[in-house]
């Protein structure tokens, strides 16, 4: 099957979703009123758009995630061959993880993992 | 020690979670704990408390007679004007005029089921009935006339 199957799956997803949405669109006619298009906020009219700038507290985690993610990426090929390569690979990865763990400890110490 | 604290932390946390899961697991596996009463299917066996205040009714006996004298005590007792009594004057066989109710209007849509009218009625003409299946499509259906058409007051009730 190979890569073609991915395309088939994509087509399936689109067909499924679009089919459902279209059926609804064609068969259901809703009433319209000015409130309907407004954003829901517990029944109170919204006055500020959330697209106004907004302090996300999470970026530090995203930063750290990115670093660890890359580390994870390097460990996949390593994991596949580790049994073949043996001890060398183990030492390699211990050094690798150790270095990163230093960073982790640093982050911990600096309080970067404490969410404020 | 730091590491020990860490491990104890993890252990205690997991233990407390497992405890909760055991409880829910217990209920999952014991279907006799299910307490659901299936309302529309158990209508035949459903037994409401005798005192349950579902609505005000006016009992009529087999001669289509009730005991309401039209004294309007209930109307006065009602805190929110649910009852409206329209009286008329019947001519008794002896030719005397006698006060009687023309219509006992009861607006179920407003009734708070507080029992004050029943308590106030001197001749026990109205009682609380445990009916609850009142849902309707139209609000005006909820305004009821409690005295049945053609009914009259029981003999000997003043």
């Amino acid at each position: 099957m190979g890569a073609i199957s991915l395309i088939a799956l994509l087509v399936a997803a689109i067909a499924f979703s679009a089919g459902g949405i279209l059926v609804g669109k064609i068969l259901v006619k809703g009433s319209s009123n000015p409130q309907k298009g407004q954003v829901y906020e517990c029944g109170i009219p919204t006055t500020i758009s959330p697209w106004h700038q907004f302090n996300v507290g999470y970026y530090l985690f995203a930063l750290l995630f990115l670093i660890f993610d890359v580390e994870l990426v390097f460990m996949y090929p390593w994991a596949v061959v580790v049994k073949k390569v043996g001890m060398v690979a183990l030492i390699e990865i211990i050094v690798f993880i150790f270095i990163l763990f230093m960073g982790f400890l640093y982050a911990h110490k600096k309080g970067a993992l404490k969410w404020s | 020690m730091f590491l020990k604290d860490y491990i104890v932390d993890v252990y205690n946390g997991v233990a407390s979670l497992l405890k909760g899961m055991r409880k829910t697991g217990y209920y999952f596996t014991h279907s006799k704990e299910i307490i659901t009463e299936q309302y529309p299917d158990n209508r035949a066996t459903l037994k409401l408390a005798d005192r349950f205040k579902g609505e005000v009714v006016m009992p009529h006996d087999e001669n289509n007679e009730h005991t309401c004298t039209g004294c309007t005590a209930c109307e006065l007792a009602c805190p929110n004007g649910t009852i409206k009594i329209i009286t008329k004057f019947d001519i008794t066989p002896e030719g005397k005029k006698k006060k009687a109710i023309d219509a006992f209007i009861y607006r179920l849509e407003m009734c708070t089921l507080c029992n004050l009218c029943v308590a106030a009625c001197p001749s026990d003409a109205i009682i609380m009935a445990p009916n609850f299946e009142h849902s309707v499509f139209d609000r005006s259906k909820l305004t009821k006339i409690l005295n049945k058409p053609g009914s009259k007051i029981k003999e000997g009730i003043e």
Partner: protein, 191 residues
């Protein structure tokens, strides 16, 4: 034209189209989304070239990591719904011309270069085991040293991020909670 080449053109169209939108869209969030599609397209191109490992890495790192990070920082620093003011027309034209000129130049180079003929007898076999073996080998094409250096790089990046991005002061932000009623006493004393 067979399916494979149709796919190639479709993927290329996705990459380039999304790329163009990513650099021209006036809404910054949309730009990020278009960048994302472009990156996904590139991943698809890798897939098409049968280097699945790199394709997966592309998605994991770029889409799962970098774009999410970019989106977060957009929220932090922008009014994400506001349209960015577009650059002056002259600048646009100039940049476009420069880009076109560069493209044409390189295009020309590629078209007229014919050193691409060499094809090895060995099949291209980029499976993960091969990658892993080469990565951990210490022979001439082994990448063991870069592999270790990468960890240093990541460590440096992490430390750098923390140093740069952490708030310099954390002291005053924490405890405004406790301004309790005790000030009432002082108020009364004033009276």
């Amino acid at each position: 034209m067979n399916i494979s080449s149709i796919l190639f053109y479709a993927i290329s169209a996705l990459i380039l189209g999304a790329g163009i939108l990513a650099v021209t869209s006036v809404k910054i969030f949309r730009a990020a989304i278009w960048l994302l599609f472009s990156l996904i397209g590139i991943a698809a191109l890798y897939f098409w070239m049968q280097v699945e490992f790199i394709a997966a890495i592309q998605i994991v790192v770029y889409v799962g990591g970098i774009v999410v990070l970019i989106i977060f920082s957009i929220f932090l620093t922008q009014q994400s719904g506001k349209e960015m003011n577009s650059p002056a027309l002259s600048k646009k034209i100039f940049s476009a011309l420069a880009a076109l000129f560069g493209t044409a130049f390189v295009h020309n180079l590629i078209v007229h270069y014919d050193g691409f003929k060499y094809v090895s007898a060995n099949p291209f076999n980029p499976n993960v085991a091969a990658i892993g073996t080469q990565m951990l080998s210490t022979t001439s094409h082994g990448f063991i040293l870069p592999f270790e250096v990468v960890s240093m790089l990541l460590l440096a990046a992490m430390v750098g991020c923390i140093v740069i991005a952490m708030r310099p002061t954390n002291g005053n932000a924490t405890d405004t909670n406790n301004e309790t009623v005790s000030n009432t006493n002082t108020l009364i004393n004033k009276d």
